[in-house]
Symmetry: C2
Subunit: 423 residues, 2 copies
Amino acid sequence: MRLSHLVTKTKKASGEQDPSRNAALLTKAGYIQRLMSGAYSYLPLGLKVLNNIETIIREEMNALGAQEILMPALQPREIWEKTGRWDKIDVLYTLKGAGDADLALGPTHEEVVTPLLSSFLKSHRDLPAAVYQIQTKYRNEARAKAGLLRGREFRMKDLYSFHLTQDDLDEFYNRTIEAYLNVYRRCGLGDITYLTYATGGAFSKYSHEFQTITSSGEDIIYKLKSTNVAINKELVEDIDALRDIIPDFNGQLADYVDEYRAIEVGNIFKLGTRFSDAFSADVTHADGKNYPLIMGCYGIGSSRIMGTIAEALSDDRGLIWPDEVAPFKVHLVSLCHEEWEIEQANTIYERLIKSGISVLYDDRMDVRAGEKFSDADLLGMPRRVVVSSKTLESNSIEFKPRNDPGALLLTLENLENILLDPT
Amino acid sequence: MRLSHLVTKTKKASGEQDPSRNAALLTKAGYIQRLMSGAYSYLPLGLKVLNNIETIIREEMNALGAQEILMPALQPREIWEKTGRWDKIDVLYTLKGAGDADLALGPTHEEVVTPLLSSFLKSHRDLPAAVYQIQTKYRNEARAKAGLLRGREFRMKDLYSFHLTQDDLDEFYNRTIEAYLNVYRRCGLGDITYLTYATGGAFSKYSHEFQTITSSGEDIIYKLKSTNVAINKELVEDIDALRDIIPDFNGQLADYVDEYRAIEVGNIFKLGTRFSDAFSADVTHADGKNYPLIMGCYGIGSSRIMGTIAEALSDDRGLIWPDEVAPFKVHLVSLCHEEWEIEQANTIYERLIKSGISVLYDDRMDVRAGEKFSDADLLGMPRRVVVSSKTLESNSIEFKPRNDPGALLLTLENLENILLDPT
């Protein structure tokens, strides 16, 4: 895409009323714009990032054998009364619809998915089953000052699984942990994201979160020195839990863990029969008797991952997008002024596109080199390529990874080889 | 995909409380399920149809040069006050948020997009510009009994364009008409969908709708016998309009038109400066002076198109999906029982997949041939392929288009050739 055609522009200052680093950077770069506290518009480059993250999540969910659906956000009060959560969820948005109907805007979808799947899952032969959606969620947060990290309207993937037995749930739950770790790895957060023990519920001793270490995180986690596993602060007063999780625990927590601030980027729960009991969601087992479905639920906020990447992987100059998440793989800067030079730059742009490489092409004529370079750093594509009269003289192109100070002079052929096989 | 793995099943009856044909058929086939009046879950096959329609729309909008964004559904009261529409739109859902804030759920996005784009479009050099989103919309309809044709929560593409001059708006508006006609053609509705004159507003004599002829349609249109253009009923009392639209009009409407019931599947408006005036959305022209942006808006309901296809293209036996919209290109029915036959059917399935053909594979063991055939008709993939001991004996496969009574016996090679080049 030509930068001269892009409807957004970078801004001198973020103009962002909330103090979060992610919203300030993403606003300044023209990826998002705040409509009100906790609700943002995704602009062309920002929507590409969000879509890339959601594509990664979708691929990993499909690989688990889960099937994608899309449920309504508007939900009748009755289903929330059935589980006793109409009055209990303090972030539930409620509103009046036609015929004086009481409605909620879904912050999560157990109340919708349980009766929905129950209408299809009747026999033990229908199980296990798993469905997910990638959808806009609503939570009436008292404060929403953390940009994309805590939205009132935000994007989320929620997966629900249905099982005959606890063993089958356990097996699926463990496979989901692997799928989640794949998502964070592909989103560039693999090295700083940890499976984290958190408090469980009536149906399991622990639930699990995935926490990404970042200085601005709202949570505190204790990462085990010996393994890539962490413990949420809410559990570290529980000596039984520590004995469970830490091999050979001697009572001195500091011997085993390091403390970090972190952002919760996912959580998974064994729900047991909490929701199938409420909706009489039974299934006939091989013995001919009916038993309630055993359920699990698994959430990832895709917009929160976008905010987390902006918080954790950026530097003083701007954003740094990991390869699979970046809106474009290459930021091509033209410093050409003569007509034949501009033609050369256009040819390089078209040739890279033809090779299947996605390119953001800074073809702007009225912008100086310094501003083009600082925009490239702010926008954060993983690789910058510069074409100028100087590089054209030596029949070469300047190539620089975003997170690497050194630039290389390459031929177009070598550049293509590097771009097509970045490993 | 193997039908034995699909979480949904076809139903004997639709169980659908509302009397619309589209919801009855789509529910019976397991494409959608009603949560409440006007709000449906899209199940795996239904979401594929919706995604295919939205992909077509996206491609046609991108070809216009429009850039995709995503705006919030939650919107502050203030922006609706600015245009005077807070109290005027009777289908506006309103609710209270944290801090006693008055919020609306967006039924349309002029109030969001105008200040958003205005913050980027400052100079005549920034124009023209066009952005669109494909997003979930909310309308508090008093009655919602028409399935996907009139939802309280529904999917819609809304495009907004920004221009320096009326001429430039006119040119873009005319190109949008072509893009819309491409969408309906690719969705299989081209032959029964007409550009339709409707009443305009302060800034243009007429607006335009796109109307699909269907006996269950809510609207009445008058299609010109001489051209593929129609007139909405609301205009036919206006003799000046008839003189405008019908060449050589003699005063006798019946001489020129045929009357049909139809469903409105899109509408486009010239907004002029209605919204840019309200938000002081000015741009500096070449003469150095500021003038308000000149705008157009262009809507297509993607979920309504899905409902319209179900209404208009189905038959007594079920759905009939056009090629680009169908969840799978081929419905492969196995009537095999012997192990070696099942292996043959599996091999055919895998080979078709490898050739890049999307296949729904009815591999169910406990279902009789008659039920498999009626499910194939109900589900409505454009082509049915049958493998049985009889076809395997003659080293062939039975091939039947959904909307064609005749079946052919083909070799696997010939089948692949037909599927890969269906023209």
